[in-house]
């Protein structure tokens, strides 16, 4: 008998993602994005995203079914992002998932978006070993998770105290006059600059922070330091070496993320690291993580970029994992939770 077929729905931000997963095999992943409608505002506008989700939902489900070559009637369970994310967008996905659950007479699993970013790697690189460390970094999240079991054993070791890594990139991008979202532009510029040109601060790496914040991140001070450096130069009528600023800033972010993550792996004796979330597309982070993991003898797993940005496959993967472990399904009155804690994998 083949493994159950799970349909996953993701709507926590601007992407409408729908995917079909059977066991740990991805059949098809369909994504519609409203990013083009937000770019001119310099950030995601929740109401614009919500309107786009409503219009994209049924067409994206149809596209996923066609791509996977299955009928809706064959689906054994529905998984949906319950949080964290933007309330308006989350609400659309949850309502659609509940209606599908009723209409098909199949169980519903509300799952955690951030943990989904780690879970998706099992579809790409196979089952996790007994223990993995997961670094989930995006425009909205920067979290370090110790994973004994992706459904029943996730421990949050740390997270950002202020800006997420991708958020800091977007803000520095704006400071440097780059288009939104700034992340990819800084990444590109940084490859042409000198990462050692300017020594920007590494947040929460001082000895005094190690007791309480060994695995937490802070990028707000770094962002301010970059702004101060650029403004002081500008006020003095000096040219801004944009590529060097981008490279030095990106190096600071990658340094802190990888140093703390490797330290956590050593501390907990974990030899496999998964990096997920949209910011794992960042080449400075990828390069430094590869070098440091090799030095430390840690296996590095990063899913392809289309599975790092928000997608339905990550939600279907986590729903499928929940189903396989016999976790109780969610109730039809499940609430969405914009700040869903990472100790909750399912609701």
């Amino acid at each position: 008998m083949s493994a159950p077929l799970v349909l996953g729905i993701e709507t926590s931000c601007d992407e409408t993602g729908v995917a079909l997963v059977r066991g740990k095999d991805l059949l098809f992943d369909a994504v519609a994005s409203s990013m083009d409608e937000h770019a001119r505002f310099g950030g995601i506008i929740p109401e614009i995203a919500s309107r786009a989700h409503l219009e994209a939902m049924v067409p994206t489900i149809r596209r996923a079914l066609e791509g996977a070559d299955v009928d809706l009637g064959q689906v054994d369970a529905i998984a949906v992002t319950a949080g964290p994310g933007l309330v308006g967008p989350l609400t659309i996905g949850a309502a659609a998932a509940k209606a599908l659950s009723i209409g098909l007479g199949v169980p519903l699993y509300g799952v955690n978006h951030v943990i989904g970013h780690a879970a998706v790697d099992e579809l790409v690189h196979g089952s996790f070993p007994d223990q993995v460390m997961a670094l989930v970094v995006s425009g909205g999240h920067s979290s370090l998770l110790l994973v004994d079991d992706i459904v029943t054993g996730v421990t949050e070791l740390g997270s950002t105290l202020d800006d997420a890594a991708g958020e800091a990139f977007d803000k520095v991008g704006r400071l440097l006059g780059l288009p939104y979202p700034g992340g990819p532009h800084i990444d590109r510029l940084a490859r042409e600059g000198d990462p050692t040109a300017i020594r920007f601060p590494r947040g929460l790496t001082a000895a005094k922070d190690q007791a309480e914040h060994a695995y937490d991140f802070s990028f707000s001070g770094l962002k301010t330091a970059v702004a101060r450096w650029v403004e002081t130069r500008t006020d003095a009528g000096q040219e801004i070496p944009v590529a060097d600023v981008a490279a030095s800033f990106a190096a600071a972010v990658a340094d802190v993320l990888t140093a703390k993550t490797i330290a956590a792996c050593r501390r907990h004796g974990v030899s496999t690291l998964v990096i997920g979330g949209g910011f794992s597309a960042n080449s400075q982070l990828r390069d430094l993580a590869a070098v440091r993991c090799a030095e430390a003898g840690i296996e590095l797993r990063i899913p392809p970029i289309r599975f790092c940005t928000d997608n339905g496959a990550m939600i279907a993967a986590l729903g499928s994992a929940a189903l396989s472990r016999g976790v109780a399904p969610s109730r039809l009155d499940l609430p969405v939770d914009s700040s869903m804690p990472l100790i909750r994998v399912t609701v």
């Binding site: 505002f41 506008i45 309107r51 409503l54 509940k98 209606a99 599908l100 009155d333 609430p335």
Partner: protein, 241 residues
Amino acid sequence: MPVLALDTSAAVSVALIDAEGRTLATRVVHEERRHAEQLAPMIADVLAATGTDRTALTGIVVGTGPAPFTGLRVGLVSARALGLALDIPVHGVCGLDAIAAQAAIDLSLAAGTEVLVVTDARRREVYWARYRVAGAAPQSLRVELVAGPGVASAAQVAADGHADGAIVVGPGASLYPEQLPPVDGAPTDPDPVVLARLALARVALGEDLPTEPLYLRRPDVVAPAPRKHVVTPAARKRALA
């Protein structure tokens, strides 16, 4: 041959009616938030309470607003997804149409009477639409749209003459009785049973009933503020000295 009707424009309401328009079950929860948590259990409940197998449903009817956005979308996306799952048609009906049709019945309005329906649009505004009662018999659901739907302050709706010579009904009127004096005994929220009957009548006439939301307002977009400088003027002076 039951039809499921739902509306999330203000309260969350669900009804199951048969092909002749008879009510089999209704559920209403008057809560202006948490629509997404309320609606699905209510749908499951009307099916269970009437012993209706979900696969017996032959159509879905949904109120398309105008209404506050988040709640409205819960109803629309639920209806569309349920229609997809069951492979049955989904019909949209403007909620103000249902209130006008209900008013015509409840108040025994004569053909030709004009009705202004106003509901709460928040932000000190109302959603409004003006109708003419077209059918003669008291059970007729025939109301014709004369003007609207729109969104404006009650004072503006009155100043534009939309209430002139019309009977004013709906919850928006009781909020602004000085500008839009309501009649007694009129319905307030759209009744999903009436929505469903309107939909069946319109489908029988061959009308296409899309489920596009009547937002009537553009999204709130706050343009990004100019970036604040982190170097203070005093520090700047020192740096330049």
